[in-house]
Symmetry: C2
Subunit: 411 residues, 2 copies
Amino acid sequence: MNTQDQRTREIRAQAKLGSDHSAMRARNERLVLTLIRRRGALPKSEIARLTGLSAQTVSVIMRELEADGLLVKCAPVRGKVGQPSVPMDLAADGALFFGLKVGRRRTEMVLIDFAGEVRARAAVRHDHPTPDATLRFAQDTITTMSATLTATERDRICGLGIGLPFQLWDWAEALRVPEDTMRPWRSRDIRSELAATLPWPVLMENDASAACNAELIFGDGTLPQNFLYAFVGFFIGGGLVLNGTMFAGAHGNAGALASMPVPDGRGGSRQLVEIASLHHLEERLRATGGDGRFLWESVEGWDIAPEIIDPWIAEAARGLAHVTASAVALCDLDALVVDGWLPTPLRDRLCVETAAELARINLSGIAPPEIIAGQAGPEAREFGAASLPLSARFLLELGSLPNDTPHPGEA
Amino acid sequence: MNTQDQRTREIRAQAKLGSDHSAMRARNERLVLTLIRRRGALPKSEIARLTGLSAQTVSVIMRELEADGLLVKCAPVRGKVGQPSVPMDLAADGALFFGLKVGRRRTEMVLIDFAGEVRARAAVRHDHPTPDATLRFAQDTITTMSATLTATERDRICGLGIGLPFQLWDWAEALRVPEDTMRPWRSRDIRSELAATLPWPVLMENDASAACNAELIFGDGTLPQNFLYAFVGFFIGGGLVLNGTMFAGAHGNAGALASMPVPDGRGGSRQLVEIASLHHLEERLRATGGDGRFLWESVEGWDIAPEIIDPWIAEAARGLAHVTASAVALCDLDALVVDGWLPTPLRDRLCVETAAELARINLSGIAPPEIIAGQAGPEAREFGAASLPLSARFLLELGSLPNDTPHPGEA
DNA sequence: AATAATTAATTCATGTTTATTTATTTATTG
DNA sequence: CAATAAATAAATAAACATGAATTAATTATT
């Protein structure tokens, strides 16, 4: 196999239901990459032990991944008896991914590498997002960013991920723009439209699910196998991680926290989005004669009076706790991961108060979940968007690893 | 390969993370069996088309499965140009499975065959279940039932599945037995204890999840890919089907509907089990001076005054609707499947009223789910228990098939 | 300090399993 | 009898396993 062939080799996608040799190899290649992404640099011998594959097979696979530019040798590890082991790590230059996040005030594009580092950023501001402006921005930015890359790097681009807020067409009222301004989002399929003009795969999820994927792939590996992820933005969205893998749902809408019913404290119920969202916070600011537009400008330096922010946090925490209790009972989750377009201290207060509210709910029969602050922070959505093609092409949906404890009841 | 080898051949389980040739073959064999179970008898040529495998490969695999006694030829189908196709169906005699269900008043065992038909039944009555009596009953019944089988049939036994109610050790109060009567259930692991004395795998799930598995495997294939299953018994339990597969959760407790919070109508929340369970119905009967013990004797001929049953259904439906709304938003589900230890008319009323209550909840942002009555009925739990080793050994966790529509957002 | 024994990582050559490809046979329709 | 589809046989190819050889360390001994 010559170098050219190796460069253009791909981790094959599985289209057929049946397995053949190339599906087997593709699976094993993804397995190696997934293990290294989760556990850090590993020598061939360790991969052989973890996978149960023969040393020879692992040797062949990893040499090929190295030749493909997806893995690099690290410094040999000495100090143990025997030949030193040569850990191999992900090659940052191995692949590039575009991530597009459509937001309330800004639409953003990032270009990340195989290691998850940002190579380029761009953003455009607007009063409200429109499909046409979004398409134009995406195409222009991809052209501009591509122009700064070498030919080799351009060949390494593996796809575009889009994080689009859920049900954008219903936002008109909340954004205070005319009723039909947002309607085009309903009928347009910007994923297909972009895919038609681009040479690589284009994937789309709702923005919070994308953020969740970032947490999962670029997180430090201490996350549990099953958790609910909540991202507080203009509205609130989420993602569901089951068996260590994002679960998208039949229509790609899993984790739609916004629509989950919570008790309204007066005997009825309302939706979580009505209380746990920045939109609601902005309404509270307006209601006292203030102006909430600063919320969208930066995620730092928010100066909000306690009379406003305290009850908002309290209500949001109560709603989030209710939703978490439901989710934990339903999906046997270990944790809630909270993140958002929020200053870190605010996010951390939300975590603490949610934990406190959770303690007030009758959890008999279920193990109380951990409440964990997200690692990706306010940028999780754009990172996450870019991570979609990465996981689609290079990773394996993998449950617990040998180290972790499987659930009882298996033979 | 001689006949003896073929008889003892097994659909190999995947223990290692890496794929080798036997894993590939095992996957393809399970794929064939799963397709035939879902779609009914299929000729080799159709399997080749569905799987994308070559005709030759399918020919080899299916002849082997036939030799193993897992598939049988049906009558050739003539009337089309070309050689007649010979559909192949599951061989009922191909495998046998024990299912043990531990219940409030009765513990039951069934022996089912590969087609899901009951070959034998046994039950024992008690005031409350104990681990020791359960173990003894299971072992004795397995011995007795095995004695009625031929040697060949005995060799075909592939495992035991146990459906155990969730958190049995907390039942003492509800069962009106002394506090510590149920405590042994907490520390005993009857799965391991039985597994130690039996030559085949022993699997355990909570009884409602088991029932859900029965619905999934023996249902008529019209179920959607993602649904919530609710089984109303002494308490209430459930199962979650995602991507066409039961999701058990890290601790095997997914679908714990009982513990899900629902608004109590007075501004607070309580757990679903407090309103949607036969235990609650029994309490209502007692409260009016009645006796609810008939509930556990038979699932027919319940004669309950409207003043009792109507509000029970109304409350249960409201709770179930709230829980369903949460689940649909969270997991992007298509349906709620309702079943239980209930007379059919009662179960159907529960379906109708739940649908009505669901219509009163603000579902904006989510597609309203179908409410479907279960097909397996009151016996779902014991069937489901027996179906656990069947799916573990012979089926593939398979998402949507070519016919079904995948979710948008894929490249 | 020099040397031998041991160990572990890696790779080479060869063998095995399983799927694919191509050609052939068989049964049926028109 | 020609056309067609199903099913199978033989030959080929892909990918993993096995066992031996190679390499480079550490550890024990002299």
